[in-house]
């Protein structure tokens, strides 16, 4: 086997630019395509294993008793590891939220589209800029110029409907999926 020169058959001649070159290219391309598809299919389990696992998904809903929350008060509950703000708004806050000219908003949304019962505002308490928890839940917290929430990280300000009004955040505070099971019991998620 010391002679490692290629045999000079018909195939070898074709490889040197003969008429079979397209057939050969076709075989190369198909092999590469099958290889790439196989690699991608094999890679997917590795990548997907990093996505939320079944136990994390199982914790996707919670029930909250809101009977003890008085008008003007807020509570924070944890849902999927994130804070959820539940605020029982005062008539003034509702009025302020409804009076806003929607066209001026960064992400135009009417207050009625963000609540199921006007008194109860339920929001994911995560600033849409870079994920900090805005202040405004405690009576002593700064609430920003619009009476809602103020993010201490980069100065985003939200109104009494949780809509972004000032600062770098691109979007309104998210409204999670929730249902009123009873007047005093909500299910989030």
């Amino acid at each position: 086997m010391s002679n490692n020169a290629h045999p000079s058959g018909a195939g070898a001649a074709a490889a040197d630019g003969g008429g079979d070159a397209t057939r050969r290219n076709f075989i190369y391309l198909t092999t590469a395509a099958v290889g790439a598809a196989g690699l991608a299919a094999t890679a997917w389990p590795f990548i997907d294993s990093m996505n939320p696992a079944a136990d994390a998904l199982a914790l996707a809903s919670i029930e909250v008793d809101i009977s003890s929350v008085k008008v003007g008060q807020s509570i924070t509950v944890q849902w999927r590891g994130k804070p959820v703000f539940i605020r029982r708004r005062t008539p003034d806050e509702i009025k302020a939220a409804e009076a806003v000219n929607i066209a001026e908003l960064r992400q135009p949304q009417a207050d009625k589209d963000r609540v199921q019962k006007t008194e109860w505002l339920i929001l994911v308490g995560i600033c849409t800029h870079l994920g900090c928890v805005p202040l405004g839940q405690q009576p002593t917290d700064p609430k920003g110029e619009f009476g809602g929430w103020f993010c201490p990280c980069h100065g985003s300000q939200y109104d009494t409907s949780g809509r972004i009004r000032k600062g770098p955040a691109p979007q309104n505070l998210a409204v999670p999926k929730y249902t009123f099971l009873k007047d005093t019991l909500i299910k989030i998620g």
Partner: protein, 412 residues
Amino acid sequence: MAHASKFKNPIINWIDTRLPLPSLLHHEYVEFPMPRNINYLWAFGAIAMIMLMIMIATGLMLAMQYTANVNLAFASVERIMRDVNYGWLLRYLHANGAAFFFIAVYIHIFRGLYYGSYQKPRELVWILGVIIFLLMMATGFLGYVLPWGQMSFWAATVITNLFSAFPIVGDPIVTWLWGGFSVDNPTLNRFFALHFLLPFVLLGVVMLHASAVHIVGSNNPLGIDIKGPQDSVPFHPYVTIKDLFAACPFLLLYCYFVFFEPNTMAHPDNYIPANPLVTPSHIVPEWYFLPLYAVLRAIPDKLIGTAAMFAAVLVLFILPWLDTSKVKSCAFKPVSRFFFWVFVLDCIMLGFCGASPPEGIWVILSRLGAVYYFAYFLVLIPVLGKIEKPLPRPASISESVLKNSGKPMEKA
């Protein structure tokens, strides 16, 4: 065998004829010709390598004691500090070591900028260096998360949220990075795994970086190539001793911080266990990220701000092609030299901006700073390279060294 009797030691010879590792090391780190005029700024590559070794050694010991679980991580770090034999030393060496690794690498990068070490034919050396820098930043960030204090948690939240700035794919990417719907136990686990892996990837790229520089040879303060044996000295003992000598004061300063100021560069909030419901009132990254953080905050738009921050690092990749100058060293380019030092001051100013709350004068300064940062690379370097007339250069390294007439020498 061609090099059968190269080494006096018969065992080394025996190995060398079967695995030429001794020959390789002899060639690259003993007889390798180095420019005879390199100054102490050239020691910081070796110093960075020493820091990497210290980080891997201390990190391995810490990993044997650390627990990557949200309920146990903080306590396991406190256990390292209080109960593990010399645990406090290992942890302070590791935490301050990261900062000193960055100090060494920043000096190394600025030295490359000043003396044009990225120019042809060292483009790949430079690009590999930028990859090392990116890996260092990723590794440093991942490591900062592990103690699971308040700063750890919120740094993880803010930095991973940067990826949510991408339209459409942003949110799925962030969920994927987290392995959940917020920074939580799966996040901590994978961050630990990656923090263990990346230093070895880093080491691999460092080897490529060193291999590449040994093909094209080291630059020097004159930016003139070695023209003959009279221009060079062998790597050993000249450069080995010089590097080790330079490492001594550097390591002394490092030890001063480890033993006397171990928490000066850290943040007190990170001694509060992570709380996903309360964001600390003032979040700042580690000091070595502050200039980039200032660029992020300079722009009041999430996507553009994030893009600008990434671009601030990525622009380094194309620097070899942005520089139109035929002359490498700023020693012969007084105008470029002036703007280089303005750039250094600009980076320091951006650092202060990043450390300050994003309001008032700091917003204006970080915007000006960010504009200069990009203008330096995208306008000043290309334009000055075309229009600046460099000063006359000596004919060779040896001429400048032996006559001692190279006036711009050691100007830095």
